[in-house]
Subunit: 280 residues, 2 copies
């Protein structure tokens, strides 16, 4: 595929990586970057992640053919609806937010019909932030989820799907609700547990912490604002995932209380099988 | 320090690493290795982790000056008490088990007075097993906990402390009960949570799993037998740690249920501060 103008709103780790990957792979002629801070835009320009920088989204909107919102999940719908007002007819918008149902619903309710929106979520990233951590190979071999609802224009979905495949990703299409239910388990719950675990460690235990604790809690170093917004946006599915976890944890607790080593062994072995299948 | 004969019971990841480190650092003249399987002993010999291999512990016991038990926590006390019967007077025994109160209690009840025991636990290792993963630098800069009770002979504690320092470790002395309470939080609980989380993931979610989930559940790939024994041996302290965790998790659940983003933000920020202080 070839895109004339790709616009990226929010040139951090994800947005910067999209820009780098699109240019490195010859997917795009030019990349417009929109950000709130001059410093971040200058970094993205210097790294070659974007070709032109804008502090005012409206200036970019007028020339935008395909736009990816890489801003916090509680900002995306509001920003994208305002942006759409200034876009030419036929423009396609998408996003990279970690929650989907709320964003897609708001977009479908408010978007003018001459502009299309497809929800997206690349399963990549880390606890790091900023364009200085951008990586042209971030999406290679990783899954990007795109959402489909009865209101999703097939041509727009196809176009965004081609974009992500051109960036090296594998595309999986799901409903926004299925995305949120699955990611509540595979991403949001692990973040919640990691944060809870880190939250109970008193400072005097610091030198009794080994590698396992570090691994288990690494993602608790993520940005507080970003994760508050994700938890809040997906709190329904996250609470369901937490109930599932708590029910399974109750089995371990019961086995510990009765010192039922056969039950402990079985619970461990079943989980080990799942984990072994994932690879390191 | 200089040891004439160091005996290692169980030449896996930890035992093999002790042998390699002791020889590499010139701490010991010769290392005797005791194992249940010829193949494991041959690997340890080939790697240079041990100089002489024994399938029968009694054969090694008669020449043992200082012995480290690196076997599963539910075997250590039984094996060490049997071993002590064949040791020369003045022999010092220690271990590398992840739980301490039960082992130290059993040793203090059963050990003949001509032999000393000091409980130990190097906070090193991984989900891998076997002498092929042994590493001479495994203990460098890591903490090894040694236990002290009213019955611990000061000279033996000093000698084992010197051994670990000679292997590159930092030594921290605690009561067995304090060790078990602390490690329940910093190690056993994270393993329990990682295993529970891996245990609820259905196979169809596998391609929606990103790096955070992998990190959080990595230690769930540990050996089922080893972890069943650790959980069982330390189930009292582990259940207390689990209660502490559950109480903190309830705060997150409450904040999610009421969509109290200020509370979510505060919980996340407090945990992030702890995690950031640990480093990557």
């Amino acid at each position: 595929m070839k895109i004339t103008t790709l616009t990226i709103i929010g040139v951090g780790l994800i947005g910067g990586s999209i820009g780098l990957a699109a240019k490195r792979r010859g997917v795009v002629e030019r990349v417009l970057g929109v950000g709130r801070r001059r410093a971040g835009l200058d970094k993205a320009l210097a790294l070659g992640a974007i070709d032109q920088a804008f502090l005012d989204p409206a200036d970019a909107a007028r020339q935008s053919e395909l736009t990816v919102f890489c801003t916090p999940v509680d900002c995306i719908a509001r920003q994208a609806l305002a942006f759409a007002d200034d876009c030419p007819a036929g423009a396609v918008l998408t996003d990279a937010g970690s929650t989907k149902a709320g964003i897609v619903r708001a977009m479908e309710e408010g978007l003018p019909s001459r502009v299309s929106f497809v929800g997206g979520h690349p399963l990549a990233g880390s606890e790091k932030r900023g364009p200085e951590h951008a990586d042209a190979s971030l999406f290679e071999g990783r899954v990007t989820v795109l959402t489909r609802t009865p209101a999703t224009p097939p041509a727009a979905l196809e176009r965004i799907s081609q974009l992500w495949q051109a960036l090296g990703a594998r595309v999986r299409v799901m409903t926004p609700e299925d995305h949120d239910r699955c990611l509540a388990i595979t991403s949001h719950l692990p973040h919640l547990l990691a944060s809870t675990l880190a939250g109970i460690v008193a400072p005097d235990l610091a030198d009794l912490i080994a590698g396992g604790f570090r691994d288990t809690t690494r993602i608790a170093a993520g940005d507080a604002g970003l994760w508050t917004a994700i938890f809040s946006q997906n709190r329904g599915a996250l609470l369901e995932a937490l109930d599932l976890f708590s029910a399974h944890l109750a089995k371990y607790r019961q086995a510990l209380q009765t010192d039922d080593t056969a039950a402990i062994h079985q619970l461990w072995a079943q989980a080990k099988k799942v984990r072994d299948a994932l690879g390191s």
